[in-house]
Amino acid sequence: MAKKITKQVSTKARDINTHKKIYVLAETVTKAALSGKEPIVSVPTRSRSNTIWNKKRGILEMGNATQDRQLFNLNQAKIFMQTLLHSGSIKDLIEADKTLSLRGMFYKGLHTVAGTKEKTFVDQTESDGILEDLEVSLTALREELHIFAKKAGSIVGNITLIDSGDEIDCRRMGSGGYAIPSIVEPDVIQFKKCEAKFILHVEKNTVWSRFNEDRFWEKHNCILTEGGGQPPRGVRRLLRRMHEELKLPVYCLLDCDPWGHYIYSVIKQGSISLAFESQRLAIPEAKFLGIRAKDYKACGLSDDVQIALNDNDIKRAKEIAAYPWFQGHKPWQKEIEGLLTNGFKMEVESLITKDISYVTEEYVPQRLKAKDWLE
């Protein structure tokens, strides 16, 4: 119980801080309005152009560029209104000490604009964008805004967690695994006991199930995670925390296509849209175990597993090759070139053509043993 109290205290301190930031935001706008100046909300730019590759730290960081959200601009008037509306909602959440999902926030702010037939938000996408803007402009994390995303991602393995005071034994999670929550900050999740020596992160749930059914984590004493494609923030944050706090290396098993390469890039360096969170999410030491372009021959796969690259894939592959963090990296350049030379993609599941458990019993153990990975 003592822990719980500390948690509340720390939350309170953070909440007071966030609350104040929102108040300052509103105060700035009010002052501008009353003094006849243009009301502006300044928002750091979340775009490729304002993303800086920190080579030394090996992560993507957000630059200093900001954009002004103006009320008296036809394209921004509504966004401006929505920003203030959500600020008010967050204020309510902090005061009530409750959290809402992104969808919940959409509904909280949703109503008809007075005197019109127009709704404040057309869809949740609009609302989500505003919340991401608020995170960066208030320099507050999503959880500090009392907002969470839907759960996506599972974990099993030789580790015991505490989630909101409840003990979670990840060894006893059946076939489904423990769903990784959206907020995994220390005040919510603590690591109680861990014997695992490494983490194997796979791209999607189907592959993860194969490994779980084969009790791979038990045989190889590891933790097995999955992020449903591009891993959401909760999964990435948990990986990062386990990597950092428990000193566990992270190995990724992803498809051999531009999408798989990008997921690896996001786990390793951070994403463009969440560049401001890279320092909390990125795992520069993460390793790319496979599938590799060479595996088609190395594993002796049949022609049937080939999925031809389309024009979009080729374009994307070239884009990824041109990312600064891949550009000077010879093995990666070679890997992407191999993909393009092959002219086809391969999914992790393609290994099933060899044998149902080929991937768990031979492929991964062999690669780990041979230290055959990209980083």
């Binding site: 309005a33 509504k78 209104m81 604009v113 007075a114």
Partner: protein
């Protein structure tokens, strides 16, 4: 021309009984036997015996299509048209504001649905000066009898064929004589005359002649339920409104149909071009041969206006009775008769004039030129005489054909002033606008009146008007309505000079779409009016204006003038809409923003709202200045400040639906109510909005500086 000459000849003949051909040299006798051995061919005598004079009436009885009686549908229309034209001309000449009732009765309402035509009785009643008893036969019973043919003066009818031809057509198809009731003094009794035309003699035969107190004929008020209920409140054919006047009834075989080229369209357009006339129209109870059995538009009864509103004179429909209101209260200017202009005569005519002059006055050529032509001064006459190789003393009758030819050539080269223009009575910009306003439900109206011009020595004047937007269909080709001397032209549109002028005008410049070589597409009605002492029609049925370069050029100039006004309006409207939208966007969110600020910061909602609103207004103004001018801040012009322009604020879709009065007010504040105009909105479709008049504003310049040729 042949027909007319023949007419003149027949008129000069003393008696119909002796109407034997002048050309028959001798009486054919029985004794003149044919040559033997010849089965074929005839002797000159035989042929001569068959050659005889042809009565004009007879000629037209056989060639009715030349006069617009080619089919039952057109016959009905032509009859109404001729009677209405006559009535309007009579009223104007008598200085009376025209009040017309047009009643069409279906006399065979029980005919089978498949029958294509029916028997109708057409009655047109006017409040004109009436007709003196002894002229009745001449006016209604003879073809080519009239006051309008010989003079160069603007009027609706020209040849004097119309109404008598209609009566003749009626007689041929139904055997019923024309019924005329006319009253020349309010205190006197009216004359009731029945006329049947004898086509052989070109003379009318009176079959009944009596005096009556019954004018306007009481039975006309009892034709339909609508007319009865209107009459009950003195709103229809009231003797008070018709102290004098004429009523003409013709029974004929015809066909009534709505749509293009119908009686309904003719009267609608007549109302537009004659805003000073009030016309009440009782259409027949059913269309003939129409595919659907619909008796009357369903909404006509449902939206009927009550008697109170009828007095407000809105064009409206009352139990099927259509009322075209009077929109201006002054008569068109009186026109003066003019002498022909030297450049307007042809050689043959010149020779004829010389001959007639000699016969009548026996004066000198010098005097002849000054007397018989306009714009020939004494010195010009002298110069012309010289050019013809004659002296000022030379008698008109002594002019040799060669001299006449030289004179004719001299006419063409002489520097002469244009003919006087007081023979013309244009409708006028303000009157055109009023007419369009009551007849077309649009949001923007513009009109322009050109200066008089000359073609073939005859003065003419072109006027144009356009109506845009409102309830007009947006996807269709624009409608072109054409008038000659205020008479609607309903047929042969593509053969008409005006239609070509519309197609040749570059409407794209004014923000409209226009397929190549065609009229523009969009919610547009284009009106073209040609006023002239002699409108050059392409045929006797007077359906299209001949394509003279001078005329078409003037038409295009008038259209371009209207087009520019429309273009300016459309740009302004776009700007207004844009500004309105922008302000709208800002204002829409300001409320939400203020509430949120209050919620988070505790700021006073009202105070913040007002501060932001003030900023929004300031910024939209600035934004527009930046947007619309090339870097310069120029005072925005209001298109309704232009001359000859009307804007109906209510009809503008973007503004009408906005519930924000500020937007409307700031841009369209009413300036002056429409002067002299019982402005109002229409109509035919049965919708009447009485308060619309208040929303109409009027160009102030229109009131202050009427153009040279306007009535006032």
């Amino acid at each position: 021309m042949v027909g007319k000459d023949a007419a003149l000849m027949s008129k000069t003949q003393p008696k119909s009984g002796q109407s034997r051909a002048k050309k028959s040299v001798e009486e054919s006798s029985d004794g003149a036997a044919p040559r033997k051995g010849k089965n074929r061919g005839a002797t000159a005598e035989e042929m001569g015996s068959r050659q005889r004079d042809i009565s004009v009436s007879e000629f037209f009885a056989k060639n009715r299509h030349l006069l617009g009686f080619d089919n039952p549908r057109k016959a009905l229309l032509t009859t109404v048209k001729e009677a209405v034209d006559n009535s309007l001309d009579a009223c104007e000449e008598g200085g009376i504001l025209p009040e017309l009732a047009v009643i069409i009765e279906d006399l065979q309402p029980d005919r089978p649905a498949t029958s294509k035509s029916s028997r109708y009785r057409i009655t047109v009643v006017d409040n004109g000066p009436g007709i003196v008893r002894k002229q009745v036969e001449n006016i209604f019973g003879r073809l080519l009898y009239g006051s309008k043919f010989h003079r160069l003066k603007m009027s609706r009818g020209q040849q004097g064929i119309g109404i008598s031809a209609a009566g003749m057509y009626g007689l041929i198809t139904t055997g019923k004589p024309m019924q005329i009731v006319t009253k020349i003094r309010s205190s006197d009794a009216a004359h009731h005359i029945e006329l049947a035309m004898n086509t052989k003699t070109n003379r009318a035969e009176v079959t009944a002649d009596s005096e009556t107190k019954d004018f306007p004929p009481a039975k006309l008020r009892d034709v339909t339920a609508g007319s009865r209920s209107l009459a009950a409140t003195d709103g229809f054919l009231s003797p008070k409104i018709f102290p004098t006047g004429t009523s003409v009834s013709i029974e004929l075989e015809g066909r009534y149909q709505k749509g293009r080229g119908s009686v309904d369209e003719f009267l609608e357009l007549t109302g537009i071009a004659n805003p000073h006339a009030r016309i009440t129209y009782v259409p027949p109870s059913r269309e003939s041969g129409a595919d659907d059995e619909e008796l009357l538009p369903a909404d006509s009864v449902a939206t009927a206006v009550d008697a109170g509103e009828v007095k407000v004179e809105v064009t409206s429909e009352h139990h099927g009775v259509i009322m075209f209101p009077r929109a201006v209260n002054e008569l068109p200017p009186e026109t003066r008769e003019i002498q022909p202009h030297p450049k307007g005569v042809e050689l043959g005519t010149l020779l004829q004039m010389l001959k007639e002059y000699e016969a009548a006055e026996k004066g000198s050529l010098y005097k002849f030129l000054q007397d018989q032509f306009c714009r020939v001064s004494a010195s010009t006459a002298g110069a012309l005489c010289e050019a013809a190789g004659a002296t000022s003393r030379t008698r008109a009758g002594d002019v040799e054909p060669q001299q006449a030819e030289k004179l004719f050539a001299a006419f063409q080269e002489a520097k002469l002033g244009p003919p006087p223009v007081d023979c013309l009575a244009p409708i006028g910009v303000r009157q055109l606008l009023a007419g369009m306003l009551k007849g077309v439900r649009a949001e923007f109206y513009a009109a322009s009146s050109r200066e008089p011009e000359i073609y073939r020595g005859r003065p003419f004047q072109i006027e144009a008007a356009i109506a845009f937007g409102g309830e007009l269909p947006t996807e269709e080709s624009s409608r072109v309505i054409r008038f000659a001397n205020r008479v609607p032209l309903l047929f042969q549109q593509s053969a008409c000079s005006s239609f070509k002028a519309v197609a040749e005008t570059g409407w794209k410049n004014y923000g409209l779409t226009q397929p190549r070589g065609s009229t523009p597409t969009g919610p547009l009605v284009i009106l073209i009016h040609m006023a002239s002492v002699w409108v050059p029609f392409t045929s006797e049925s007077k359906e299209a204006i001949a394509d003279y370069d001078e005329i078409r050029k003037e038409m295009k100039l008038a259209l371009m003038e209207c087009g520019r006004k429309l273009g300016s309006y459309l740009r302004k409207r776009l700007k207004m809409r844009r500004e309105g939208e922008r302000r709208d966007v800002f204002e829409r969110y300001i409320g939400e923003v203020s509430k949120s600020l209050h919620h988070i910061h505790g700021a006073d909602t009202r105070e913040v709202y007002d501060a932001l609103l003030a900023q929004a207004k300031k910024r939209t103004r600035q934004a527009d200045q930046v947007l619309n001018e090339d870097g310069k801040v120029v005072k925005a012009e209001d298109p309704s400040d232009q001359e000859g322009v009307l804007v109906v604020a209510d009809a503008i879709p973007a503004l009408a639906q906005s519930d924000r009065s500020e937007v409307k007010d700031s841009h369209l504040e009413a300036k002056k109510p429409f002067q002299n105009a019982n402005v109002n909105a229409k109509t035919k479709r049965g919708k009447v909005s009485a308060n619309e008049s208040a929303k109409i504003k009027k160009s102030k310049r229109d009131d202050d500086s009427p153009t040279l040729f306007e009535a006032d």
